[in-house]
Symmetry: C2
Subunit: 625 residues, 2 copies
């Protein structure tokens, strides 16, 4: 149930689900209301006048708003929930809040979940015998902070207060008081945003006061020795009684080493990191929490914890501030995880005011797909298999030095086949990675050597079709299988008919996933305005080639955009803005997840989309020679 909420004087209208706060609705509509507590009802700054829809008066309202104002409809927007049509008058911002451009063009208000509050406490006397904690909490309340103190800080409290002459800085994360530091340390607060990939882990240490990334680095996930993909990691847990502990310890060790290195680089102490936000697929985040991923990996694919999570980082052995918090974003499903939620947030997929349908695809062993606009969104995961990672491809390899990552075929002239090799042109190619594979097949389609059924022409058929001899000579047979020689003859790097089929199945799976979502939404591929390719693999795919092989719908090439590590960007946004985190937490309620396994129509759709699309972009000259 959604209701229209109108903001005056701007006359901006948004539709908010029942129960949303006016504060969050405004933020979602791109109209951030002033607040220092981030919408927790403690600072009293987010007052609006509800011209319509002002039914309740909360405790916090009573605390901050006088009776006459209440009668006139003034409310704290963070306490006023939408239960029908609402019209809210928003006063002009009193202060101009700091903001940063993050993610894929998202304007993010700096409003972190970590706050440092400098306090000069009254010294106790016989006339004022409040306990240390009460004194501290009272002073925080005066500053607008109503917090729960972490019991672990109580023991140190009497000493810290007295040694610092009652002048301290309180560290608040969310609604929890996690530390009391002597003196004024309010200028320094850091957080860390982590993207836990199955292969690669990326961490960024962020200055929470300025929004600046002070250090960023990626490293291999220390679990790599136990298999390349989530299934092999889960299998190790199932096969070995100690496996869960080992995998948990490996990822924790990876993160701790990474954070230590980043801290050294940026001149930050790990104890100055008060919060971590981590994203990743469901299996990775389960292993980070030390929870078995087994039920995720077998039907009906159930995570133990799919909602948003806030825990004490130390309980999971992360070496940050001893009472730092760790936040994990929610998952949409067992195979569309927090990394995708984070990416959707970072790209503004479901909040873009232009109401156009966009497609978010993270290509990998599992292709995660989200289709949506701010009106509606759907998500699914398609089992693409390992072809995109270069596995089960005759000359396939990972994207590392010597891998062919780009292929161009220009039929006229001796340089007919041009290869782009990772590490530079001076390296001899030693294999073919995912993006090279896509390029190679796309180019063969473009020049007409692969037909839309996916068949590689025989030399005779190619010659009959008027293909230049430079290309016909490259049509060879390897171990009885037709193939195309990509490299110079001595290097023997070939693309076989089997490889083409493997790629066809992989892109077919993702394409089928896309079609299931399009069908469920009642739209056609032509309704897709933009395709966002996420993840590191997405950054290397040639958009034109992706379109040629039918991995993505036939949109203009300039609207197929690589958005890079959108997951990591989203994690940073959540670290720097509590409102953005709240928005991310609400995404699973907004995006419907469709499970493909066991869907009776999936195989039909898969068969339909298996063929390559007609080569609209191919130069007609080549094909008619």
């Amino acid at each position: 149930m959604k209701y229209p909420v109108t903001f005056l004087p701007q006359n901006i209208v948004t539709h908010a689900p029942e129960g949303t706060t006016v504060f969050n609705a405004a933020n979602w509509a791109g109209l951030p209301i002033d607040s220092t507590c981030g919408g927790r009802g403690t600072c009293g700054k987010c007052k609006v006048r509800l011209v319509r829809g002002a039914d309740g008066v909360s405790e916090a309202d009573h605390r901050f708003i006088a009776e006459a104002e209440l009668a006139a409809g003034w409310r704290l927007s963070c306490r006023a929930a939408v239960h029908g049509e609402c019209v809210a008058e928003v006063p002009r911002l009193m202060s101009s809040p700091k903001a940063a451009l993050l993610g894929y063009g998202q304007h993010v208000l700096l409003d972190p979940n970590v706050a440092k509050v400098y306090l000069k406490l009254d010294e106790p006397t016989l006339e004022d015998q409040r306990g240390d904690l009460t004194r501290l909490l009272d002073a925080l309340r005066v500053e607008g902070w109503d917090v729960r103190p972490d019991p672990a800080l109580w023991r140190a409290l009497p000493g810290v207060l007295r040694d610092s002459d009652w002048t301290v800085t309180a560290v608040v994360v969310g609604d929890e008081l996690i530390a009391v530091e002597p003196g004024d340390t309010s200028a320094e607060a850091y957080g860390v945003a982590v993207d836990v990939g199955t292969t690669t882990v990326v961490a960024a240490v962020v200055n929470l006061m300025t929004g600046a990334v002070v250090a960023i680095k990626s490293t291999l996930n220390g679990q790599a020795a136990f298999g390349a993909d989530v299934i092999s990691r889960a299998s190790h847990v199932m096969a070995d009684p100690g496996g869960l502990t080992v995998l948990h310890e490996r990822i924790v060790a990876t993160l701790n080493a990474l954070v230590a290195e980043l801290c050294a680089q940026a001149g930050v102490r790990p104890e100055q990191i008060y919060e971590a936000v981590a994203v990743g697929n469901a299996t990775m985040l389960h292993l980070l929490l030390g929870i078995t991923p087994e039920p995720i990996s077998v039907a009906p694919f159930i995570p133990a914890v799919d909602g948003p999570v806030t825990v004490a980082a130390a309980d999971f052995d992360l070496a940050l501030h001893p009472r730092a918090r760790l936040g994990l974003l929610p998952h949409l499903g067992a195979y569309v995880g927090a990394d995708i939620v984070s990416g959707v947030l970072a790209t503004g997929l479901v909040r873009n005011p232009d109401d156009r349908l966009r497609l978010y695809i993270d290509v990998g062993t599992n292709g995660e797909i989200v289709l949506g606009s701010r009106a509606r969104a759907l998500a699914t995961a398609a089992p693409a298999g390992p072809a995109f990672e270069g596995a089960q491809i005759r000359c396939g390899m990972r994207a590392s030095d010597g891998a062919i990552e780009g292929v161009r075929i220009e039929p006229q002239g001796a340089g007919a086949v041009r290869l782009q090799v990772i590490g530079g042109g001076h390296l001899a190619p030693i294999g073919l990675c995912g993006s090279g594979l896509i390029d190679a097949v796309a180019e063969l389609i473009n020049v007409g050597l692969v037909d839309s059924s996916g068949r590689l022409l025989t030399p005779a058929a190619a010659r009959a079709a008027g293909q230049p001899s430079e290309l016909v000579e490259r049509l060879v047979t390897v171990d009885g299988v037709r193939a195309f020689l990509l490299s110079a003859p001595g290097q023997n790097i070939v693309l076989t008919q089997t490889d083409i089929r493997a790629l066809q199945f992989a892109k077919g799976a993702i394409s089928a996933g896309v079609h299931v979502l399009l069908d469920a939404m009642g739209v056609t591929p032509d309704d897709v305005y933009e395709v966002l390719l996420a993840g590191s693999f997405g950054s290397y795919i040639n958009p034109a080639s992706a379109r040629t092989i039918g991995l993505v719908p036939q949109v203009p090439v300039d609207r197929i955009v690589a958005v890079g590590n959108a997951a990591g960007e989203g994690a940073k946004m959540c670290l720097l803005s509590f409102r953005e985190r709240e928005a991310a937490h609400q995404l699973p309620g907004f995006i419907d997840y469709l499970e493909l396994s066991g869907r009776p129509d999936f195989n039909d759709i898969f068969m339909e989309v298996l063929a390559f699309p007609p080569p609209a972009g191919a130069p007609p000259v080549v094909r008619r020679q």
Copy 2:
């Protein structure tokens, strides 16, 4: 700021402070409103119709009450706060809630903070892929429980759910889900109420389903080796760098041994104890939490933590359920601790509908005093010194076998002095404990051998006053000090003039404290209706003697009542009723604490009350013979 709240149809009126919920106000007025969630806004059962004062509509109201009903003033009473005059129509109880008689005649609704919820979960399918935790929390929400899951239970969750065929019992403490047990264990839940005394620790294991105490036991506080009173314990912490750790470990070991013994006796496993409620003085509870009591023991006497506390019992090494909660009641001041708050709760001192002033006194090294009715209450602590414990008394001893605990002087006949000895009449007396000391002095006043200034008559003066020779012969001199021989001549147990002075100072301090409170309230001793003597020492004091020496005001003897271990009773009430615990938490806001140290008028008042009162109850025959 207090407002009248009227409950219909009973027409009961109570005065509730601004912000109190209608639910709590009703409970306080002795009108428990039906509820299964105990006032957390999740069960929807506590609906009332606010005929007056219905200003707000909360989220929870929207969830449970239809629009038409809301318009008619229906609200959840646990969400409706008092912000002005209120009139509430309370529907008749749908179910008749279980209750128990606890404390000093308090009718307590069984409404523990621990709940067990038996759940048959839907098995996950491809159509219902909610995560384990989400599935569990959803099912709990259907049953009216909106809880925060303890992260420590997540790891076990996938196994427990699958091994138990999705049939489990959720254990909820407060708003936290602390355990998920396989199968139906909803019939068994236990708690432990603990009174941490400086000398003695009392624990009771309570069946939370029935309210029955299944085992109770007291033992010596394992810290006893470090001094008899709180000052010597605090001194040890200050003197020895490892002292705090040792004292913390001692009290934890004492509690764990006690609980283990109680469990063995009652056939309960410690893991079936899901909650502990502990009371005690501020120093004891600080040591239990491992916090230094140093600032409590030096001016201006400041506890680190004086508010109510809820922590994980395991974080403080208590061996109960691994995720059991430990609740500590708040303190009124550094020397009027949670034990007194608990005692005030158990005796109904500030909620008795008769509006009469009552005086609560816990006699000990520090005498804790509360004076009040449901209109107003004041508290203070008076430094009585060790006389009541038999210390610094010539023949003084603790209340153990051989101690004289009662004295009667009947001047006529050979049995003029009759002694009551702990352990029975066959034991020869070996000393005098506190209650014996009070009795002895009171009887000497009654027979006229001690005058109101506290002077023991010389033999000559006694003979001149017509005292019988049996008594005059007992007036002796010991080491140059006048004394009265209590025992048979060979046993040589005497009460010296110095002892009488020591008692006089001790009772003078407490009496001065009482007078400070009476003055502050603008009343006289005649306005005191009843005196409640709390603590084990209070149970042994002869009420008439206490009155004779002026330890308590001159009220009729039958209104001087020993209320026993009221602190322990209050802890049990808090364990069995969340409403009672809430009431206890609110007591520090209701009872004003007066600090005696540094008060300029204290010494004047002390001097005024030092004399013994005129012996109104003494038989006139004796004094005129």
